[in-house]
Symmetry: C2
Subunit: 277 residues, 2 copies
């Protein structure tokens, strides 16, 4: 999916919501486990969440950690989830949140995992190891790298905000340098919703790119603030919500509750989208 198609989906659905599938076997409704293996229960949960929310969002983001924690059966559930979204909702942008990054030949294997074995649209990648650790992910036409820039957590202050001798902070250097590797048609950036006005500084460096924005809801970021400082003329935002949507209820009505939670965010997003000139 290219940037224009993503923007068209956003306009059509009046939503730039990404639903995070942080599916934890310990948090899904207990009734789903009756008569099912853990693997089947996770897949059933994800399918129900996706079916209930697909018209309200433009992207899904399974977080690999939640699946890997269950070992082989979790990995299988992840593959089945991606395949289900791909086949039933081909207009969805599928982001694998795995934060990979290694030397070239190893990154090439991660790329094979997420872009071939699974057919994700995008992968989150950590920048610490530099150009040749990111390059292999950029060899797949139509696939995206979402590079960590300024994350939503407290630890983002430890290294990402450190300024070099010229006053450039590490996240700014990542933004600037990585533009030599790919443009706004193949790269996005992770910018945490908790970063507030920092979005202004970031937009000065990358005015046209899409950002994947985690951190609204449970982590305390504000949608309104993210839009005020981060939105561009093609929206340029995919705002993620995980727990607040998928665990809106843990009873038999979990899917309807997830839908209601997603609808509420979508309505707020619809208002924000009217501000695009």
């Amino acid at each position: 999916m290219n940037r224009q198609e993503l923007f068209e989906n956003i306009c059509k659905k009046q939503s730039f919501l990404c639903v995070g599938l942080d599916t934890d076997i310990k948090k899904i409704p207990p009734h789903l486990l009756q008569g099912r293996t853990e693997e089947e229960a996770i897949v059933a949960f994800n399918q129900a969440i996706v079916d209930a929310t697909a018209d309200l969002c433009v992207a899904y983001k399974p977080n690999a950690a939640f699946y890997e924690a269950l070992g082989t059966k979790g990995w299988s559930a992840l593959e089945q989830t991606v395949a289900y979204i791909r086949s039933h909702y081909p207009d969805q942008f599928i982001i694998l949140d795995a934060k990979r990054g290694d030397i070239g030949n190893t990154s090439a294997l991660y790329a094979r995992t997420f872009f071939e074995t699974m057919d994700a649209d995008a992968l989150t990648v950590a920048p610490y190891m530099g150009a040749d650790s990111v390059g292999p992910f950029l060899t797949y036409p139509g696939k995206w790298v979402i590079l960590l820039a300024l994350t939503s957590n407290k630890g983002s202050h430890d290294f990402q905000l450190t300024a070099d001798a010229g006053g450039e902070r590490l996240f700014e250097r990542v933004l600037r340098t990585s533009q030599e590797w790919a443009g706004e048609e193949q790269m996005m950036y992770v910018v945490g919703a908790t970063q507030g006005r920092m979005f202004e500084d970031i937009r000065r460096i990358v005015p046209d790119h899409f950002f994947l924005v985690p951190g609204i809801g449970a982590q305390g970021g504000s949608l309104e603030e993210v839009c005020r400082y981060g939105m561009n003329s093609r929206c340029g935002l995919l705002v993620n919500s995980s727990r607040a949507i998928i665990y809106a209820a843990q009873d038999e009505h979990f899917a309807q509750a997830a839908r209601a939670a997603a609808a509420e965010v979508q309505q707020q997003m619809s208002l924000q989208l009217k501000k695009i000139r």
Copy 2:
């Protein structure tokens, strides 16, 4: 395994070799695939390599990327490989090279994956997201974090060497800051063999820690140089070799060839260990 036990193993075996199990289905001897599934072939290959080299090395390092690339069956092969080493060679230090790191609740799940679902001794972790992304890995007594500091690849120059206003380079800041999170009994650092005299600078900051050193062999680093600048009074080095050992031959004698290649490195290491005062 604690630092003293690891050092005792090194003295006993006269080796600080870590064999990297970068097992690629496309590179293993073709005869192993006859009458076996891919998953079985990978496990059989790894078992043969481990059986042939276990008395010559103190650590094994499966690289998660190589297994994930095969999806569920690769993940299963990885689990079986770790279980095999753990049960047959309990004195081996098992490093999962997965370069993870995410917000706290997600890192906690990765920790569960590699320290509980699998019973690895150590995990490589990326520092970009800071303290709270690393902390969850440090809550397991006896388990280790191996933090990326100065990697072996060309891209290490993109961000890791950037100096802040006070002249401190990013990898130095990572070394210094991370010592507030854990000491030399729970943390090691990745330092690439290709970094030469940079080991001297690093030892000034972390004199007592172990380093995991990739990059000799295929990537061009020198064992002699690594030891000259990086060794400390308890060795302080786990030097990894992957391709040069496990793919020493690709015929029916691959295990003996791997043993011969490992023995050659072990002999060089034995000479280096004599230099410890």
